[in-house]
Symmetry: C2
Subunit: 231 residues, 2 copies
């Protein structure tokens, strides 16, 4: 895989868990934030938590998003959907020619209905990323992975992660990132157009989570064995 991996907006919900899991897998991680100090602080916090586990890891570095985007070979967008349209245009040149993974789920909480999906003009958060980063190669995934479960480092994830994308290299890279998470198996979900289904599935999982008081994920049944993973 092309390294290092940037987590853009990596100080939020999904970023720290991914950073810790990737760092334990030996991957150099760059945590980007809107403000450099927050990126530095988040990286310090992550490294402290990792040291406490007494398991080997590559120390995480943190700074602002522009720094992370410039130095990275692969970037994962871990900012909430509402933030990506403001963040990405300024990073488009730094991310040109690189693989960028979209993870956002456009949603809101409705008083009556609970979690509901919010329509995106481009069709999905992932397709909005593709529109904002025309020189990058886009894949989408990690939508159904619980941030809370990701942070429980002693736990194997035991779930599948559907990856969609129109660019084979981007899709392969995103699937390699999934394989860095113990117990997780990447599943090829086809074209980037399908990211909308994967994003909306997460809204359904959030309803299930509220009812069963859990952090659910998904597994697909009847898949052939994955030759490259044990998940």
């Amino acid at each position: 895989m092309d390294l290092p991996v940037a987590l853009l907006g990596g100080t939020g919900k999904l970023g720290p868990g991914l950073a810790m899991r990737f760092a334990r897998a030996g991957v150099p991680v760059l945590v980007g934030s809107r403000e450099a100090e927050k990126g530095v602080a988040a990286a310090g916090d992550i490294n402290e938590k990792l040291r406490a586990t007494l398991v080997d890891f590559v120390p995480v570095e943190g700074m602002d998003n522009a720094w992370a985007a410039t130095r990275a070979r692969v970037a994962v967008i871990t900012v909430p959907f509402e933030g990506q349209a403001a963040m990405l245009p300024g990073l488009a040149e730094s991310l040109a020619g690189k693989v960028v993974v979209s993870t956002a789920v456009p949603m809101r909480f409705d008083e009556v209905l609970g979690p509901v999906h919010v329509d995106v003009a481009e069709g999905s958060a992932a397709q909005q990323v593709a529109a904002l980063l025309p020189k990058s190669s886009i894949a989408a995934g990690f939508h159904s992975v619980s941030s809370a479960e990701l942070k429980k480092l002693s736990r194997s994830l035991d779930e599948h992660v559907v990856i969609t994308g129109d660019d084979d290299d981007a899709k392969r890279t995103a699937m390699e990132l999934v394989r860095l998470l113990p117990g997780a198996r990447p599943v090829d979900g086809g074209r980037l157009h399908g990211a909308r289904y994967s994003e909306q599935l997460t809204v359904l999982l959030l309803s299930v989570n509220a009812i069963y008081r859990t952090h659910s994920g998904i597994k697909l049944t009847n898949l052939p064995p994955d030759p490259q993973s044990e998940g």
Copy 2:
């Protein structure tokens, strides 16, 4: 559960598999078709297949949809989405006060993208059913269950079936229907609004099926044990 169960448009893809599984579970099934002769023929065919398995079952009966809707206590709509708007208005009075389960997935095959979801004015196939049957209690589910796997009667399904609905009784009934399928576990997916996510998930599964040459289903991870099922 209120019996018997009608399968409206039950001669299509999903109907025969459900009919056979329900009949083996001891449930009287009424297979409805647009034409009475087709309903009769489908029931005869289903009973013949069931007899060949040498396992006990309640013989399935078949006729037209109006007959099935009138005699049933619970109805499952197993006609393709394109057919339901024409079929349901004429059955609305017969289905008044009854539980009706929506299973359709609004979709089409695109030459470039493969299977794609088709937007529904009401928000989902299930919400269209609710609009067309204002005096019935609607739940939605079975979207992700493969018709092909359902027909392999010797196979346990080993999958979860997400049920959505605004009416508790309808949801409970739909979940009981899932429990009739060996190996399947119902999962409460919240309000009927969420049927759109469950319907679209199936489009994603069809892309996965094309890539992996399989008939995939889903399981949710991290759920608490289901007190009423072994699935």
